[in-house]
């Protein structure tokens, strides 16, 4: 799976991590829903760490599209409220 972190590039993530990422994402949505900013920050950091640690940085020769695009690292909680909703902004 190819994941982009907005502003930081694309990473090829092993399939077994996709499940883990999705689980963290679901918990992040729940944290945002309940207004738990600290909880969200912690999960958000874990998500980014997972992608950066396990992911392989794609270089400029690859024109592949990302399967998942994560918001920028410095996302504000207000922005997270718009972004981290059950279905994403627009369900695919």
């Amino acid at each position: 799976m190819i994941v982009r972190i907005a502003g930081e590039g694309q990473f090829r993530l092993p399939d077994e991590d996709a499940e883990r990422l999705n689980e963290l994402d679901n918990r992040a949505v729940a944290a945002v829903d309940s207004g738990d900013e600290a909880g969200f920050r912690e999960l958000w950091r874990e998500m980014l760490d997972l992608v950066k640690t396990d992911g392989q940085d794609l270089d400029g020769d690859d024109l592949a599209e990302s399967d998942v695009i994560l918001p920028p690292r410095d996302i504000s909680f207000a922005e997270a409220k718009a972004e981290f909703t059950g279905e994403g902004l627009i369900p695919d």
């Binding site: 590039g9 690859d62 918001p71």
Partner: protein, 252 residues
């Protein structure tokens, strides 16, 4: 997965779709796509240059504040040496406010600095992608039938488009950030000019009473110093001294 895959997609997809004007002829679509990419790369470069300009402006503000801190510190020392503890205190209070402003400004400048590095690195990546696209488009033109080509074109163009949309977004965020900083700095300056923060935040350009009084004291002690020097010179000097003294007074 639906939720995760959908995140940010509206932002990106709307930007990407604007880049590809599909024509009946794949060759045309490809050339147009490439031309559009090169065109947009110029915007990206300009965007990064704007961020750099804004950062430089903030750095100038920071330098000004640094000078203000030094000036206030000097004034405080002068006041103290004159036994004016009240003025020394006021100057030190202002210095503290200036230092706080300076710290937050420097933190933001550092943040911008690393953002700028990231933007430049991503711009380089985008340029490579556009170059890859250029090579690829010739291969697609030569090797694929029209129907197959359309699919390949979309894939390749979306890859470049995503990179470009991402960089555009990052530039936008950096610009918003500098805009906010500028707006805040401007608001503080206006309030200062209006005298709203008379006691502690007025870091203005020497127009208030304390600055005037401190300035007078400065001149006063400077005159005293010169007089003391002259007296010393007169004490040990020869017959030519009176004329020299007169010249110095006129020049001062």
């Amino acid at each position: 997965m639906a939720g995760l895959a959908g995140r940010m997609s509206t932002v990106f997809k709307s930007k990407i779709s604007r880049m590809l004007d599909k024509s009946e002829d794949p060759g045309e679509t490809l050339d147009y796509g490439y031309q559009k990419q090169v065109e947009l790369l110029q915007n990206v470069k300009k965007g990064i240059a704007d961020v750099v300009t804004s950062k430089k402006r903030l750095q100038m503000q920071s330098t000004k504040l640094e000078q203000q801190v030094v000036k206030l510190d000097t004034q405080a020392r002068q006041a103290m040496s004159q036994g004016r503890e009240d003025l020394a205190r006021a100057a030190l209070e202002r210095k503290t406010v200036a230092q706080t402003e300076l710290q937050s400004l420097d933190t933001q400048i550092n943040e911008l600095e690393s953002q700028q590095e990231q933007l430049s690195a991503n711009e380089k990546k985008l340029r490579t992608k556009i170059e890859t696209f250029r090579t690829k488009k010739e291969v697609i033109k030569a090797q694929y039938s029209a129907a197959e080509a359309q699919v390949k074109i979309s894939e390749a163009a979306n890859g470049v488009g995503e990179e470009m949309a991402d960089l555009g977004l990052a530039i936008q965020r950096a610009e918003d950030k500098t805009e906010n900083m500028r707006a805040r700095a401007g608001a503080v300056e206006e309030l200062e000019a209006a005298g709203t923060f008379d006691d502690i935040t007025q870091l203005g350009a020497g127009q208030d009473d304390i600055d005037r009084e401190l300035a007078q004291m400065g001149t006063g002690s400077q005159v005293d110093d010169e007089l003391a020097k002259m007296k010393a010179e007169l004490g040990s000097g020869g017959g030519e001294t009176p004329q020299l003294e007169q010249g110095q007074k006129e020049g001062a």
